[in-house]
């Protein structure tokens, strides 16, 4: 369970140590891609807690969402419409939903564990 987070941390450390900076005109794309990545990661965690985790869905979802978000931002720049706001909105809403569900599952899990302990003690 904790190995993915170790890898996430490892990725962050790696990114900070390599000192890579992308040009300013591309930061919009990366930021929207990062948002999509966040969404997918949290979605994966939620699915895992629900016991419905499918790695194919997770991996394809990650790459597809990230590229779609970047592509949407690109199209928006070309057309002069702030289409990336659509991506921000969609991913933002899903982010909150996923976090809420994860929180609920964690609370329920702990509650059940306590209950089980109590019944075992009895």
């Amino acid at each position: 369970m904790w190995l993915p987070f170790v890898f996430l941390l490892f990725g962050i450390v790696l990114g900070l140590l390599t000192d890579i900076r992308i040009p300013e005109e591309y930061t919009d794309y990366l930021s929207i891609a990062v948002l999509a990545a966040f969404d997918t990661l949290l979605g994966g965690i939620r699915a895992h807690l629900e016991g419905k985790f499918d790695d194919k869905v997770f991996i394809s979802g990650f790459f597809f969402n990230v590229s779609l978000a970047a592509f949407l931002a690109f199209i928006g720049v070309q057309l002069g419409v702030d289409l990336y706001l659509a991506a921000v909105f969609a991913f933002g809403v899903r982010l909150f939903q996923n976090i809420a569900l994860i929180r609920r599952y964690l609370i329920e899990k702990r509650y059940f564990m306590k209950k089980r302990k109590k019944t075992e003690e009895k």
């Binding site: 993915p4 987070f5 990725g11 930021s31 985790f53 790695d55």
Partner: protein
């Protein structure tokens, strides 16, 4: 470990690794994004010499401000402690001084007279150009800016006094100064300055003469000891400036 539904242990470990790599990639992206938004702090890279120069500049400003305050206080004193006749005199003096500063009076002094005239070159005869050179409004504005930069105190263009709100406009191809059309070339631009010779040499060596030459206009300056500038002969309309109440002005 994440529960995975692979076919056999081989598939399981393979997908597991990819999932972990996705997490790694996501972390990497976040770090890069974070770093791209971190701007390096601006450091104060001035050395001692530049700092000293800056301080001197500020001190000079301070001294000027002190001098201004002193003068203002002197005028206040005159108003407060002198008799009515003297107060009236002071008031009249102030008004006169303000009028002079605003350009509402004739002004005499040393300065430079620029003659703006067509520049006929020898080569022009062969080309047979029949167009009489015309001054453009941008060029005139530029000249006035340059003159002010080089220390001109008062300017008049073809007997139109240039004050701080003088408009220079292009109306149907004619240049209007103070809402009066400029006469065709040649005309004179009179400039008052503290040091006319310096101003003249500045203008001689600046690129403004080249710009005039491009329009086939010659700008010939001559320093003179006494020049009389005409007064600004129209009313000054200040639409957006209002009088404060006396109490407010005193801060009571």
């Amino acid at each position: 470990m994440l529960t995975l539904r692979g076919n056999g242990d081989y598939m399981k470990s393979k997908y597991n690794l990819i999932v972990l790599l996705v997490f790694l990639l996501a972390g990497f992206m976040i770090a890069v994004q974070f770093q791209s938004f971190q701007k390096p702090k601006e450091r104060d890279t001035r050395d001692t010499w530049e700092l000293r120069a800056d301080i001197q500049k500020q001190q000079k400003t301070q001294q000027e401000l002190y001098a201004n305050i002193q003068q203002a206080e002197k005028i206040i004193n005159q108003y407060q402690y002198d008799s009515i006749t003297q107060t009236t005199k002071t008031l009249k003096n102030s008004v006169q001084q303000l009028k002079e500063e605003a350009g509402l009076t004739e002004k005499k002094g040393k300065g430079v007279v620029f003659k703006v005239e067509p520049l006929f070159q020898e080569s022009m005869k062969d080309v047979d150009v029949q167009v009489y050179p015309v001054l453009t409004q941008e060029l005139l504005s530029r000249l006035i800016n340059e003159l002010n930069k080089y220390g001109a105190t008062d300017i008049s263009i073809a007997d139109e006094r240039v004050i701080s709100i003088t408009p220079i406009r292009n109306v149907n191809g004619n240049i209007y100064v103070n809402n009066h059309p400029l006469p065709p070339l040649p005309f004179e631009i009179k400039v008052l300055a503290e040091d006319p010779k310096k101003l003249l040499s500045y203008v001689e060596y600046s690129s403004i003469r080249d710009y005039f030459a491009i329009e086939n206009i010659n700008l010939l300056g001559k320093a003179k000891d006494t020049i009389v500038l005409p007064k600004y002969d129209q009313d000054i309309h200040l639409e957006s400036i209002h009088l404060l109440e006396a109490e407010d002005a005193n801060g009571e």
